[in-house]
Subunit: 395 residues, 2 copies
């Protein structure tokens, strides 16, 4: 019998590469033991939350056990948290944000689906540079949106701006960027952003239905070597920023993120109200109350970034020693090296023989490369060196 | 400029009655002081969480601050929580459930949207007895589903079974029931459920694409006067149960619920995998990790139900004294009385003059009645007596 819909049936048949590698990893760990498997497939932040998390959770406990302590909160988020986020984001984005421009969401993922539901008409297109975060297609596809992609320019992986502009049609409702980028580790320069803002201005000059520039930026906190991550809101009144505390505070499982809309957007209040409503009617209702209180308490804290930097350098050494070509990541916790031999799926299969798990670039819409998450213990990086070297030798 | 989609624009114009009353209430509280306003408009559980919640949260804190303590968990939920839920639901539903039949969700709302996304083709119909929970239309509408309703039979508000059967077409994908019912307080009898099971069997005997019987039951824990709430899974292999701990543990803001599929459903594994995927791609990713741990720790606990029963009796007295006709609620925490004079919107307006907030039945697809939530302090009930009496006298 047909218990699921045709669209979902099709999506399940095309199960994501990340998921497939995850299942392969489970198998290998069972067979060889977890310490013999070198799993770079998942972006699950493994650094403990900031030290103040214990103290904050103890205080939250006392609030939580009161009447209504865990009750519904306004759909857009705890008023005090929205206020705090407004101040925090004003400082970060260099645009004067008030709480009325912000909705607290279930992670950046919940921000994206709530936003897509609010703005997309069936048949609208969402344009993204490739490689891209694998879920964008599903996120907009729920509401009849269609993902289109334009390859970025290796080795730096800055976006192909003329290519993006040439791909914009009347149906393009959203241009989405992700910097620091998953999977490439690229940080978009100020020059890139300025040009993106000009591009959006040119497009919207002739439009009644605006093109939005969406910045999906859960890795904003994580850049290396004094690279700066320029704010996106100042580059266009049509810019919308979505972020999350999943990685910056290592609370990915508690699902806390936000959407911040440029106050200069025409009808900004209407859009914020619409997202507040879709956040409710998609079933989120409100972002989890314990997580909101925790993120509010830890807003000025962060996980220890020196750990990520140390791993980045160790991973770079392993790849260099194996003769694998890569651009050093400027941000986030991923490498996106060139697959020796050029066939990413073949190379990822070769790595598997040495119990090394990676994800082929094909899974991110960009073949010929592969992704490594270095959100893993130092011992995993060190232990993988022989496997990378042996696999690379075969190509 | 058109910053939001046409469908969402239309939904915003038809803002829910609950929301309108909420805003009216905010206004009145500002003007007269919160203690002078008698707000029966919201179903926000105000009884504190069970006493063991403090101890549980302290233990959870120690887990949370470890590496990965707040990290992503499997999309379907913490394995230990799914196991515990399987045992708990097996006992409650009288059907042998295993963890593989269960997905932990962001409340019952998240269960409904994830399920609708998994099974609905554009144009499919969702059939519900009226009055009904106001969000059903939006929940299925995201994915091209259309809500159809059939009036239930006052004064008991048991469903109109022949009416429901006559309304089923080839496009009817889901028949959704809600017992104990919001807003009527009605509990569906065993006889009603048995007949519903037979109805679903007749429909599915000729179908390749089954009709699902969805039981939305966040109030299963709350019945009065020794009324029993019969389990729904045993009545049909096509039955799917969705529940939440929002009311039973007073943690509505933390968003923890579940979906349990009858193991006898053909392709049960495919449906559970599909819901696990849609739960991920709708942006929930996984139900909040702190809430999952808390609900697991408190699974055999409950809030103090005698408080709700005391309020129910006090509210009944207030209505009786005002000469307002009602059926005594068998479960949940709502009254759905007949509007004196017959015009629910006019009567709710009259109540407003006495600072009493209620929601017209029109907001639930059933005019001539109005809803009162008695999840409020005893003093609110007592303080409202004069207002109810004075308003009723005008009709």
């Amino acid at each position: 019998m047909q218990v699921i819909s045709r669209a979902i049936q099709k999506q399940m048949e095309n199960a994501s590469w990340i998921r497939r590698m995850f299942e392969k990893g489970m198998e290998l760990k069972k067979q060889f033991g977890a310490d013999k498997v070198f799993d770079f497939s998942l972006g699950n932040p493994d650094i403990p939350p900031p030290a103040r998390a214990r103290e904050a959770l103890l205080a939250i406990t006392e609030e939580a056990v009161k009447p209504m302590g865990l009750g519904y909160c306004p759909n857009a988020g705890l008023p005090a948290f929205r206020e705090a986020l407004a101040a925090w984001l004003t400082n970060q984005q260099r645009v004067p944000l008030e709480s009325k421009h912000i909705v607290v969401t279930c992670g950046a993922a919940g921000a994206l689906t709530s936003f897509f539901r609010a703005v997309i008409e069936p048949g609208d297109e969402v344009l993204s540079p490739a490689p891209y975060f694998v879920e964008y297609g599903a996120y907009c596809g729920h509401f009849g949106g269609v993902l289109k992609t334009v390859p970025s320019l290796p080795p730096s992986f800055q976006p192909d701006l003329p290519g993006l502009e040439a791909s914009i049609t009347e149906k393009t409702r959203v241009l989405i960027i992700n910097s620091p980028n998953n999977p490439t580790g690229c940080v978009y320069s100020q020059q890139t952003l300025t040009k993106l803002g000009q591009l959006v201005e040119r497009v919207n000059a002739t439009r009644e239905r605006p093109l939005f520039l969406v910045s999906d930026e859960p890795y904003r906190f994580l850049a290396y070597d004094d690279v700066t991550i320029p704010p996106v809101l100042p580059i266009s009144p049509f810019a919308v920023v979505m972020g999350s505390f999943s990685k910056s505070l290592s609370l990915a499982g508690e699902r806390i993120g936000y959407i911040a809309v440029n106050p200069a957007l025409p009808d900004v209040g209407l859009l914020v109200n619409a997202v507040t409503m879709t956040n409710r009617t998609l079933g989120f209702v409100n972002a989890p109350i314990l997580g909101q209180r925790l993120a509010m308490a830890l807003l000025d804290e962060g996980v220890d970034l020196s750990i990520y930097d140390r791993r980045r350098k160790a991973m770079a050494q392993v790849l260099t020693d194996a003769g694998i070509k890569f651009a050093m990541p400027q941000g986030a916790f991923y490498f996106f090296p060139k697959a020796p031999g050029g066939d990413d799926q073949a190379f990822v299969q070769a790595l598997l023989k040495y119990n090394v798990l990676a994800v082929p670039g094909t899974g991110f819409g960009f073949s010929g490369y592969f992704r490594l998450s270095f959100s893993v213990e130092d011992s995993v990086i060190a232990g993988s060196a022989a496997g990378f070297a042996a696999a690379a030798k075969q190509f």
